[in-house]
């Protein structure tokens, strides 16, 4: 930790009764607390008509008249509307299995960031007003009064959760603090307390169809310049259909993909992929400017926001008369498309059960929503050898993969991306097991935490992830972090730099790698650049580069705990794991180069 020298994690555990005491605005830390919503955004979203104009650092938050009654009556309503809230308020045994699973707790050391403590913020109110034990025994039953300070504390800590659901993996009852936080945030909106970053995007999306507030021509212009970039690199003219009726597929991607970098290269990958399918197999697709956003910031804000935001996708699928829908690479978007969208809306009857017309594969797992992931589709095509790939074009990348929280724990999406990555590049390395798949660590910036004002929180929360990347970077020379999430692609730019990993470790989507490897049928010149415009490695250079990685660690490594010497860092790590119970992820703490 010292070498970065910026983060200091202090841990101090209060006793149970101090833990019940709310913090106040005086304890709010810069870089950790979020900015409150603006009135115009509030009004642009389907929220209750009680906007509170407050400054988090001031004592008086100007809560609306009767806020306490409103809050409690809503809480009562919600426990009867959300069984999960009701059950989870009652059954947590405070075993603490979830405690050190939260990256925000690990990064800040703040005991109230333990998932169980985060849920207790609401649970203590629940006990006080909805159970007789709490009414009679008060504090001794773990109950506390609802005061203005408690509201402040809720605001502070409910927004220090990225709703990654990692805590839910380890809880013996599956208590999902993310869901509790979701409902908690909605409760706050009923007394007018809002979150700026989320609401800016929500309001923009409800107005324009995408989080960024791009107009239709703005989006079209973006797609056009991506097509130009592709032309420059591959020499192929690519046509991008927009709002086109009567095609087979509606394609929906997160808006970050056609706006930000490194998302941009992923967008180029999508466009090339669909172009190839049309050239070779006559499959037609379209973008929609109204359904120009797959992401859904409502999914971590309120039910109603989520609903009004994802409705447009089915509406457009109907208006355009497509057969089914494909979605791009985005994390929370897929939590929404997988678990929320079809419950919130009727499925238009022009949609058909998705069958890949090229391979005949029937996507039974999406037979109701009629929406599949582009990587499910691509994996199927690759498996059946229906697209031509040249893996060596990704030889300059040594790839590792970050599972986005929502793809992992909201959908169970692990093998499709891995299959595709392995098919399009030669060098793929996994991060340590406690940091991938269902145990994956958040990038630290999910669920509205991508806001700039919480940079400290983000860098701290991203620490466990950064450590795991550093591990594979040091061990295998990994220099590409593949991630199928638009938030990640934005978040890692700051995170990797902060942890001194970028450069050399770059990050981007898997479709960027697909775009690199994909051999277009109408491509007649040899490619010299990858989608980023970086030169591809020639055969000999590849060999050298690989050898460099393989031969580099001929130095000696020594285990600092017992002095054993190894010629291979890997061996030293294995030794450390076996003999000293040091997880491989943290091996660099004990295995150093021998001087």
């Amino acid at each position: 930790m010292e070498e970065e020298g910026k983060i200091k994690i202090e841990q101090r555990f209060p006793n149970w009764s101090d833990l019940l005491k709310p913090i106040t605005e005086k304890d709010f830390k810069k870089g950790i607390y979020h900015y409150p919503a603006r009135k115009s955004d509030w009004e642009g979203a389907p929220l209750p008509p009680v906007y509170t104009d407050f400054n988090p650092l001031e004592k008086d938050w100007h809560l609306p008249e009767g806020w306490k009654e409103t809050f409690l009556s809503k809480m009562d309503e919600f426990r009867k509307k959300y069984r999960e809230l009701f059950v989870w308020m009652d059954i947590c045994v405070r075993c603490g299995a979830c405690a050190d699973k939260c990256h925000y707790y690990l990064g800040t050391g703040d005991p109230k960031n333990m998932p169980v403590a985060r849920a207790e913020l609401l649970r203590s109110i629940y006990r006080r007003y909805f159970t007789w034990q709490g009414k009679i025994f008060g504090k001794w039953a773990g109950a506390r009064d609802l005061t203005e300070d408690v509201i402040k504390e809720l605001y502070y800590y409910l927004h220090q959760c990225s709703q990654c659901r990692r805590c839910s993996v380890f809880c013996p009852y599956g208590i999902d603090t993310a869901t509790i936080v979701w409902i908690g945030r909605e409760l706050l909106t009923h007394i007018g307390i809002g979150h700026r970053f989320s609401l800016i995007s929500i309001a923009a999306c409800l107005r324009s169809g995408n989080h960024l507030g791009l107009s239709p021509m703005g989006m079209a212009g973006s797609l056009e310049s991506a097509a130009e970039d592709i032309k420059e690199i591959t020499g192929v003219d690519i046509e991008v259909p927009i709002n086109k009726k009567g095609v087979d597929i509606l394609f929906v991607a997160p808006s970050g993909d056609y706006f930000a970098t490194p998302h941009w290269f992923t967008l180029m990958g999508y466009l090339m992929f669909f172009h190839e399918l049309e050239e070779r197999y006559g499959i037609t697709y379209t973008w929609s400017t109204l359904a120009g956003e797959g992401g859904n910031f409502g999914t971590f804000y309120t039910y109603k926001c989520a609903q009004d935001m994802n409705g447009k996708i089915y509406k457009e699928a109907k208006r355009l008369g497509v057969k089914w829908i494909i979605g791009g690479e985005c994390g929370h978007m897929w939590r929404d498309k997988h678990q929320f969208m079809a419950t919130m809306h009727d499925i238009p009857d022009n949609l058909e059960e998705p069958v890949n017309p090229i391979t005949g594969t029937y996507f039974e797992n999406a037979k109701s929503t009629k929406m599949i992931h582009i990587l499910e589709f691509a994996a199927d095509l690759i498996k059946h050898n229906k697209i031509k790939l040249d893996k060596s074009r990704n030889n300059h990348w040594k790839v590792t993969m970050h599972d986005p929280c929502n793809m992992a724990r909201g959908m169970g999406f692990f093998e499709e991306p891995r299959y595709v990555v392995r098919s399009v590049c030669n060098y793929f390395y996994e991060m340590p097991e406690h940091a991938i798949r269902e145990k994956t660590y958040c990038c630290g910036s999910g669920a509205g935490n991508l806001a700039d004002e919480v940079m400290d929180l983000r860098m701290r929360g991203g620490m466990p992830r950064a450590m795991a990347i550093r591990y594979v970077h040091r061990l295998y020379g990994v220099n590409y972090l593949a991630t199928i999430c638009a938030i990640d692609r934005a978040a890692f730019t700051a995170l990797l730099k902060y942890w001194k990993l970028q450069p050399p470790v770059m990050h981007g989507g898997i479709f960027e790698l697909v775009g690199n490897a994909l051999i277009l049928s109408d491509e007649d010149k040899e490619r010299e650049l990858d989608l980023r415009g970086e030169p591809l490695l020639k055969e000999e250079e590849v060999k050298e580069a690989v050898e460099e990685v393989v031969t580099a660690p001929t130095k000696e490594y020594v285990c600092e705990l017992c002095g054993a010497v190894f010629t291979d860092l890997d061996e030293c790590c294995e030794h450390a794991e076996k003999e000293h119970k040091i997880a491989k992820a943290a091996c660099d703490m004990v295995c150093g180069e021998k001087r």
Partner: protein, 310 residues
């Protein structure tokens, strides 16, 4: 006279327990689960040739049922536990919590089942079998005197003191432990303790206990033997029964209602219905067209496409 008090207490405790738990369950069951929020912990079902985690990411009802069995009887989620050392950024698997929890719960289950011997006559064979399996451990000098130590008596103590110890030793656990958490553990330790004392150190009138127990279940009350340890045990059990529905101990029933675990990971294949789904109030194409008429018309004029070298 005092005997009647205990009969009354026990009946009331049983009544509160049964009604209390049922009310809890009824209240939970009445609340809808609006969304399928299953937490898949393994590969979803998608392409046939991808290896899939049947019981971590169940697709059918049957697979979900197996997953729940794993949770209830094996505590699979706790099995996955890891520990993170913040100071050194290390992370290791840890099974202590799982071990103590499973030792305690399984022993408790077997001990409760063994109690059936007091309430039945004749005693069912499988209870006797359970009893003898439990008693494989014998200590003492064979030629003099042998004592059968029930394995579950040891393991439940291991489990209980392990769980208690965690809360004392672990800084995190200490901070989140409320008085009620200590109460639950201490109540159970006391109950278990009084039982163990009766078994090994304090001879009670077993015949009398059995008559009392049978009297309870046949609604033909017989007074309990007035024995210090037996009455203590009975009081503690009653207290536990009364406490159960109003405390975190209802997790035993609540786990069955936890939607992250009891729903299949198939919301894209089978539509999940929310009974209170509000109507859509978001933007419509007409409103959108009104707002961006010029630009949308321009896209139409271009033949609904951009790029293509044109």
């Amino acid at each position: 006279m005092i005997g009647y008090l205990f009969v009354g207490l026990f009946y009331i405790a049983i009544l509160i327990f049964v009604v209390g738990v049922l009310v809890r369950i009824f209240n939970w069951a009445r609340a809808p689960v609006p969304l399928n929020i299953c937490t898949p912990l393994g590969q979803q079902k998608s392409l046939d040739w991808l290896p899939r985690a049947r019981f971590d990411s169940p697709y059918t009802k049957w697979e979900t049922f197996v997953r729940m069995l794993g949770e209830v009887f094996l505590f699979r989620s706790l099995w996955k536990n890891t520990k993170y050392y913040i100071e050194t950024q290390r992370q290791t698997a840890t099974k202590w919590l799982w071990l103590f929890a499973i030792a305690f719960h399984w022993s408790l289950l077997i001990i409760l089942l063994r109690h059936i011997r007091f309430f039945t006559s004749p005693i069912p064979d499988w209870i006797l079998l359970l009893q003898s399996l439990d008693g494989i451990l014998e200590v003492g000098r064979p030629e003099l005197h042998m004592v059968t130590i029930l394995v579950t008596n040891l393991t439940i103590l291991l489990g209980l003191f392990g769980l208690l110890g965690r809360r004392i030793v672990g800084a995190k656990e200490r901070a989140i432990s409320l008085p009620s958490d200590w109460l639950a553990l201490i109540l159970i330790i006391a109950t278990v303790g009084s039982g163990i004392i009766m078994r090994y150190f304090w001879a009670v009138d077993i015949e009398g206990v059995k008559r009392f127990a049978i009297g309870i279940v046949t609604f033909n009350p017989v007074l309990p033997p007035l024995d210090l340890f037996f009455l203590t045990h009975l009081t503690l059990v009653s207290a536990l029964l009364i406490y159960f529905p109003f405390s975190k101990l209802v997790h035993a029933a609540g786990i069955l209602f936890s939607p992250t675990r009891n729903l299949p990971n198939n919301p894209r294949a089978v539509r999940y219905i929310n009974p209170w789904n509000p109507p859509y109030t978001g933007i419509s194409w007409e409103e959108y067209y009104e707002m961006y008429k010029d630009q949308l018309d321009e896209i139409a004029e271009r033949g609904y496409k951009v790029g293509g070298g044109g």
